[in-house]
Symmetry: C3
Amino acid sequence: MTNKFTLKQLAGDYSLEYRGDAGTCIQRIATLGSAGPDALSFLANPIYRKDLEITSAGIVILAAEDLGNYQGAVLISSNPYLDYARIANRVNEKPQSACIHPHASVDPDAAIGAGVSIAAGVVIEKGVTVGDNCRIDANVTLCHGVSLGERVIVHSGAVIGADGFGLAFDQDHWIKVPQLGSVVIGDDCEIGANTTIDRGAIEDTVLENDVRLDNLVQVAHNVKIGAHTAMAGCSGVAGSTSIGKYCMIAGASGVGGHIEIADHVTITAMSMVTQSIKTAGYYGSGVEAQPHAEWRRNLARLRRLDKTFKKLLLRKREK
Amino acid sequence: MTNKFTLKQLAGDYSLEYRGDAGTCIQRIATLGSAGPDALSFLANPIYRKDLEITSAGIVILAAEDLGNYQGAVLISSNPYLDYARIANRVNEKPQSACIHPHASVDPDAAIGAGVSIAAGVVIEKGVTVGDNCRIDANVTLCHGVSLGERVIVHSGAVIGADGFGLAFDQDHWIKVPQLGSVVIGDDCEIGANTTIDRGAIEDTVLENDVRLDNLVQVAHNVKIGAHTAMAGCSGVAGSTSIGKYCMIAGASGVGGHIEIADHVTITAMSMVTQSIKTAGYYGSGVEAQPHAEWRRNLARLRRLDKTFKKLLLRKREK
Amino acid sequence: MTNKFTLKQLAGDYSLEYRGDAGTCIQRIATLGSAGPDALSFLANPIYRKDLEITSAGIVILAAEDLGNYQGAVLISSNPYLDYARIANRVNEKPQSACIHPHASVDPDAAIGAGVSIAAGVVIEKGVTVGDNCRIDANVTLCHGVSLGERVIVHSGAVIGADGFGLAFDQDHWIKVPQLGSVVIGDDCEIGANTTIDRGAIEDTVLENDVRLDNLVQVAHNVKIGAHTAMAGCSGVAGSTSIGKYCMIAGASGVGGHIEIADHVTITAMSMVTQSIKTAGYYGSGVEAQPHAEWRRNLARLRRLDKTFKKLLLRKREK
């Protein structure tokens, strides 16, 4: 299932400088620590620099500044992780089998593109459109009318197009607000395992091209996520919020409803955004753990911070 | 699939004052921005007031104070969102098809009420009771013995009745505590996509009538949730906690175990509740994001807040 | 389905002291509040001490110091919860039916051990290994190549082995980094409902023996979790992090990527860990809710904490 490549061939195909025996041949991928002579490896994170000294990898992709005294065959890259990704995809290339598993339930009224793979347990409801070369993994649900672009990957257990959380309060009980919109997902998006994307209340929930969602992410009704934005695991966005292009939302962060986030905004982990952000940059509010006893004392101070400061200021005035 | 209504008919049926041509006829729902002359729209959130100037909607539901110079046909409501919900449900009314999809697995020992819709991929285990007119969406799991009232909606991927997280530590390893209770869900509840509700350890986990859970909500064993309470996406409740009636738990909030929350309590987003709350009202601890560099400086101060204050107080005493 | 036991028999089998009629016979489990004379109950949490006065339980397991004036039949235990777990498992013992539900999809190339139970809607892909006596609940997905030890319980909706969230940025778009590793899970692990465990990027994601994950937990690629560690609901671990043995990660906590957590570390609820922890103990950063108005004032102070302190220090210097 894997393919063989020589050092020279890879250097040529990816326009990379190389050192070492041009005929060195690899046919698999491995970490520096575990690679044998038939494996390609890479060094991108300085944490692993020490592994270079002991690696048996056939070829290593690395930056010129990490070369040091290493004598093995190398591909020199200005972005080793990116070049690794490109080459690893090729080494492991296998044609996607375009098939609908007999244990999938695909409504006859759904439009399924060419080259689409649909795994067991998938449910695709009426009026769904799945673009060419999508991959729909096991036990995914695509609710009625949802639309996916081309080359979208939906991981197992994800639910796209469930009703948004729309409720109107009627004196002493809730009335369900009908959720009449759908979900429109662009090309090259990836939706993580058990992630949920709700259908719009009236208009659609929209993910532009190349949006990448990790596992257990919640996207509420009428959210719009700009192209190339990535959201890490356990993050969520409340209803009607618009997130720009090229944003990064780190793990377990929450973005409130009815706000707008500009392009190129990064939200750090476990942060809460409740107001619109108009300027690109980094924003956050995650609190880092301390030894518990220390944190309890700080937290006790935080919980009466306003009173303490008021007292302090009063004393100042009194002096 | 939609139905037609005139302005006069809607005004009469919902006891609303109207202005404009009594014969104006709508047959669909749309936002102010996208509505055509055959659509009903509404204005509830002041953010959208500007859209009233440009709308082509056949009929708009709005509050008297938002009428301004608007010349189109209107229904005047003291609660436009609620009246919108009522009318939109009627415009889009379609009889639920009472059917069990051939790709659902329903144990012959389960009791399924009249008018119930069960989608593909649903698994209903032994001893489950599903009340009349429930809607069980694709890939839902109802574990053995779980009981649902009438008109309950369970969205795709939800799991009701998995074992609670019960473990006893035995010197150097865990022993599983058997989870012998079940889950009892009242009438008119709604359970979001990929939400999980665990069965009780000995007695049952209970949701009273009209409880509304959004997506990816976690309800642990032996939790009791009072009638009409709503929990937004990614929130969770730990074991044996009792939440009152008419509570609102905002997104990504966590409620600790073995506590009691009174009726009419609102928990704001991303807050953590670890002690019982005896008085109705708003409670919270969510921290709002700032520009990251600014937050880092504040966080550094927070992490030594107790030491700093101790030093400050010492100095005061020394003076 | 349950079995009968006398007081004398239980005392003997579990080496517990007893008081009361040796022939007292129980055949079911109940709480103190609801137990009848044929039920075994227990008192482990002092919250329930008052229920001892009114219980009709046939036998109660409790600590010597909780005995008081109670006159009923008792088993005296130094760890009532643990002894309850042991006995309750036996009272409710039923042989697991080793069967593959006809609505499960098991790849012919998967290796399924003896005594394994596989429920409806389960999808087991190519190359998966499931050890003896595992229990795979409804709608679980085990992706290609995943390996489970013996006696592993996977609750409904869990997804094991979906692709990790690996992306390399290429000028103006994302490139997917192939996820070539797998997931290896030891013996006696328990994986909660709708929990997700990603496959490794190159090497495997690993859970050692007796790891216990609650519902809606996210475990990213290449994470290693040491034996006997438990993670509560809605918690998550980012990529390549190593968590020690006997750790406890409380609900909704997040552990960052590429760090190491020592053995016997407890992370309290809703905390964020971003740096390695080298010493056993308790760590946390969760903020407890207050009345909202009070919290808003404290939060406002927190958001300018650094500026305020700088001003205070300046004034001091000026004096």
